[in-house]
Symmetry: C2
Subunit: 324 residues, 2 copies
């Protein structure tokens, strides 16, 4: 059934794609099979992460970039993991309506995702969805996310180009907004550039960038007014330039290799941990440990040591892992 | 040596405390021993998480709250995991100077932490540092963090009271800023309440809160001007009220039990994964898998399945875990 669904998706069936994404999102037991059959078909998509503080107009910018990419005859996928994005349903009606054109375009596939998966669940899931979009022929994937947390960093790891979106603000926020975002940006955008303070902010970001040592890529700073469709072409050109520079320097291949390695380690981690947790939850002896820890009779660290040296538990768990 | 250091810390030695925190932060192999010896001495600290978008004046607010708690004759610990916090060294000189009073106060212990630990490392580490501060007699611990990512959610899990700090902003950001923060707030603060739009924002947050079903705790919304020391007393009173309500309703005990259970599961998870990763890195057979995945010869998901069903690997790894 999975094979059939993947076949359909590869032929362009949007419903099959949507269903597969749902399976990956829900972390169903079919995920390894899905990924195995999808893997031979990926590697063509270029992934652009768009991040920054809330209220920066990222969704509008993503919508505009999708437009540029469509004009450039690319198939576009959009993933919104930002809880405030109109794509993911977090924002006001006006924004949603502004995005509607893309909902009707067959060449654009939009998917929103919950920001808070179970413990550590999301990043892996988001990069799984990128792979599905890739295999489905979307060769330009935009991932919109918010902030500088670990979740976002993990998602950005999967992006080929990271665009950091700032807005001119009153005084103190300028300095602070940049702090966590400086290192991850391949391109800086100052959006809402018609607002007061935009020139100051552009100069300041450029000043900070000029202090960095030379590298194979000079991070550009682009002024945009996404709502008025200004500066988008220039931004898209910079993204294409970064794409080319990544390819020419062999960086893209290296990034992809690293990504595959991370996928392996995280998959192992995830599968082992699901097994361990279900073992602990279903084993009476181990449930007793959890109870004693909950009541405070034993501290969690001593309990962990005892559980890890308990042969029965590990053997039982081992059987499961080997069998699965 | 650990026992000695812990003894010293329990007697109030700040240097011993600082050293133990460093060990926990660096994830040294002594961590389980440290935690085992610290665990009997914890449970007295009340932990307040202060979170919200960058530029909201969280650090100034945390500094003021530390002042209130000191006047209330509590010992204060401050952990800054916000890269933009002046406590953690991210911000401008003025802010740092404003904080300096606390650096000189023996009753306040301040510790900054890196926001980006290794994969999944930080939250566990931050809650470990909270435990050290608790054992060292800090009965009021403030944790300052930024944003709504998974890292922050994990840290907030460890907080007894979560204070979400917003600022009046121009139009669109109001709606968006709240989206990810609504569910985790025990207390809302609108800081910089002298700015235009503050009344509107207060009304709007209260409007959103009024739509929620009644609960044992009615989330208050407090207007503050941290820089001018306004509204801090009221905020501190609300924190104390939440502390009391948590205690009266038995919520505090339940939270602590849940926290201990999480500590156990995460410790197991962490110890198993460190072993697995070091096994993979040191085993030649397995290094071969990593190589094949890096070059793309085999997909990560198939490789994970093969590694997990490979008896030699698991047996070798098992020996290590049991022995440790």
């Amino acid at each position: 059934m999975i094979t059939e669904m993947v076949e359909k998706m590869l032929l362009g069936d949007r419903q099959a794609l949507a269903r597969l994404i749902t399976l990956v999102e829900r972390d169903s037991r079919e995920v390894p099979d899905i990924m195995k059959s999808v893997y031979p078909h990926i590697g063509k998509a270029f992934t652009v992460g768009v991040t920054g503080p809330p209220g920066g107009g990222k969704s509008t910018l993503v919508g505009r970039l999708a437009g540029s990419a469509r004009q450039d005859e690319r198939d576009v996928g959009i993933i919104a993991v930002d809880p405030t994005s109109p794509f993911s349903g977090g924002a006001i009606l006006g924004d949603r309506i502004r995005m509607q054109q893309h909902y009707l375009d067959e060449g654009v596939f939009i998917r929103s995702m919950a920001t808070r998966g179970s413990h550590g669940g999301l990043p892996r899931t988001a990069s799984g969805v990128v792979k599905l979009l890739d295999a489905a022929g979307k060769d330009f994937v935009l991932v919109e996310t918010v902030g500088v947390g670990q979740t976002e960093i993990d998602i950005m790891e999967a992006a080929d180009t990271t665009v950091v979106v700032l807005v001119p603000e009153g005084g103190d926020s300028i300095q602070t907004m940049k702090a966590g975002l400086m290192e991850i940006a391949d391109i800086f955008v100052v959006n809402k550039a018609d607002r007061p303070g935009a020139d100051y902010m552009l100069a300041e970001v450029e000043g900070m960038l000029s202090q960095r040592p030379d590298s194979w890529w000079k991070v550009p700073v682009v002024a945009t007014e996404a709502v008025n469709d200004k500066g988008i072409e220039e931004l898209y050109r910079h993204i294409k330039a970064h794409e080319k520079a990544l390819g020419d320097g062999g960086h893209l291949d290296r990034n992809r290799s690293r990504q595959r390695k991370l996928d392996l380690l995280r998959t192992i981690e995830y599968r082992i941990m699901s097994q361990i947790v279900s073992q602990i939850e279903n084993d009476k002896d181990l449930a007793r440990y959890l109870e004693r820890v909950e009541t405070g009779e034993i501290d969690p660290y001593s309990a962990a040591s005892q559980i890890l040296t308990n042969h029965n538990l590990i053997d039982a768990w081992l059987k499961q892992v080997r069998g699965s």
